[in-house]
Amino acid sequence: MTTTALPTSAPLDVPINREGIAVVCRGVTKTYGTGQAAVRALRGVDLLIHSGELMMLVGPSGCGKTSLISVIAGVLDRDDGECTVFGEDFAKMKPHQRTAFRGRTIGFVFQAFNLIPTLTIAENVAVPLLINGWSMHKAVQEARGILDQVGIGDRYRDIPARLSGGQQQRVAIARALVHKPRLIVCDEPTSALDHETGERVMDLLKTAAVGKDRSLVVVTHDNRIFQFADRIAKMDDGRVMGIVSDVKEL
């Protein structure tokens, strides 16, 4: 087993070289609720994600995977610890800065696709550009280019409901790519798809989304797609228990 770089026991005050590093989490905690009902979802997560890698977060249901990528993506406030994305800390930003930073830097792929049902495929893909202030016309042009890349360029005028699940996830991936974010987070991107479709979607993510300056974090408990990971972080009980680079080592 090759457990890598950042020892889970690294003291928080030891500086690390941030060159080529996308995400640094150290001692991240998150508790939902208070008192009797409190759930300690994250109990001190240490994790380092490099630029250009596909990092998978795996582990049993309820171990805190979704909570962790929510913190990394800046949609959930952590309680304690350190977490930076490309050197920036969401906790130190004002709300509108945080929103704008998300809009520029992060792409999202969801288990349930979350495509807006009344928009066409091209318009759905264009949304992140619209959020960043593009005009509808230019954004849709750009979106069509990306749709070509993910192999459904001919369906750009359809509405999502006319597409199969696999096709819809391709649209969602196009949407996550269109504004060229440096970090893409995917929560169970294949769990609504059959195995074969899931593999093709992962193939697409691996080839189209991972790049020199872009990292992917993919949350999954689907062991059939582990093979697409560069590294895998095993989580349990609110912690990262270890990191492996080879599926066989799991």
């Binding site: 993506a73 959930l76 509108h96 809009g103 979350n114 807006i116 949304v127 959020i131």
Partner: protein
């Protein structure tokens, strides 16, 4: 992003239709009922508007509205004439009289007697004949609406159309012969009874004998004088009530507002329309937002700020508001227009359109506010929840 908001709204066509219908309903009820209310209120003052053309109406101080006549001594005319600033003053008789129809049935009519010499106080327009012809023996003028409906002659056969009363026909008013010399055109009055115009002295002779018969003194003000000032002088010097036209109209309308169920009735209808419209719109708009919460959350996660999301919701509310307002007021106008010339009192002034518009704004704001609350409280992290 506004395009996105618009498409989210319009794309859900069934819901969109429902929300617009809610606003339309409220707007229609407010505009339509309001118009009828204003139309009816207008009719209560129809005779004041139609009487040509005194500056001031003088009457017993206890008179509460135009149909509430309290006869004065004839000598009051001279006292009014004596007031400084009065250019002319004429008598007006206003009463009810029974007209006997050819088939022996009776019809209650308004009888208006206007000053014999000047013929001031007559109808505003003539369809046939002239007011001057009232100087002929037994002459009366009948209003067009009365002549064609209630005073029209019916043949024995109920399938035949009634024959309108025409110039040259005779009537029996309180057992006295009257000859129709003209047909006038005026605003329909509240009670919608036929109007019969004649001279003051003939009116008094037609009417049942009473000790006093002078209903109103109509006054013209000397040029350059303020009518209100002259009103004050008349009141001081004669002890009578003197109102300008506008004041008398208000006195009359106020009476109907205060002492009849009409405003409450229409107020209830308008209030109910508003309430139902608000509930439908608010509920459907809110449920529209709830159904879209997942997508609003997605937009939020992907970097749409709260302020932008709120604007999007506001714009959606505005769009349904504008549409509903347009359709509602349009429908109300259409209904009014289709009923033009019928007995329906309908008057849609711009002020009422503004009121309907304000109601729509309130409805949309309430609906949007409910939804906005949800969007503000929305945690973007919900997007990851299965």
């Amino acid at each position: 992003m506004f395009r996105v908001a618009l498409k989210m709204l319009v794309g859900d066509s069934a819901r969109f239709f429902g929300i617009v219908m809610g606003v339309t309903l409220a707007c229609f009820v407010i505009a339509q009922q309001g118009s009828i209310f204003i139309g009816i209120m207008g009719r209560t003052t129809a005779l004041i508007n139609d009487t040509t053309y005194p500056d001031i109406w003088v009457m017993d101080p206890k008179v509460q509205y135009i149909d509430d006549t309290k006869p004065l001594q004839d000598t009051q005319l001279y006292r009014v004439r004596g007031v400084e600033g009065v250019a002319w003053a004429g008598r007006l008789y206003k009463g009810m009289i029974r007209a006997r129809m050819e088939n022996g049935t009776f019809q209650n009519c308004n009888l208006i007697g206007i000053e014999d010499s000047t013929l001031v106080g007559g109808p505003p327009a003539m369809v046939e004949g002239t007011v001057g012809e009232l100087r002929r023996a037994d002459a009366v003028i009948v209003d067009e609406a009365g002549a064609t409906t209630r005073l029209a002659r019916r043949t024995g056969n109920p399938e035949d159309a009634p024959i309108p009363l025409a110039v040259g026909d005779t009537l029996e008013l309180n057992d006295r012969r009257a000859v129709v010399v003209g047909i006038s055109k005026g605003t329909r009055t509240f009670q919608s009874q036929p109007m019969i115009y004649t001279t003051y002295s003939r009116a008094v002779s037609f009417a049942p004998k009473e000790r006093k018969s002078l209903s109103f003194v109509l006054v013209g003000v000397k040029p350059g004088l303020d009518a209100q000032e002259v009103c004050k002088r008349i009141a001081e010097q004669t002890g009578l009530a003197a109102y300008t036209r506008a004041q008398f109209r208000w006195v009359t309308v106020e009476y109907y507002l205060k002492y009849t169920g009409i405003p409450i009735n229409f107020g209830l209808a308008v209030g109910l329309g508003f309430l139902i419209g608000t509930v439908i719109t608010g509920f459907m708009f809110y449920s529209f937002t709830l159904d879209n919460l997942r997508f609003l959350g997605t937009l939020k996660a992907m970097g749409t700020g709260d302020v932008k999301l709120l604007w999007m919701i506001l714009m959606q509310a505005l769009v349904v508001g504008l549409l509903g307002f347009g359709i509602g007021v349009g429908l109300a106008s259409l209904v009014g227009w289709l009923n033009r010339g019928s007995a329906l009192a309908f008057l849609l002034p711009w002020q009422l359109v503004v009121v309907a518009g304000a109601a729509v704004v309130v409805i949309c704001m309430l609906s949007a506010m409910l939804s906005m609350r949800r969007v503000i409280l929305l945690e973007p992290a919900v997007v990851f929840k299965g």
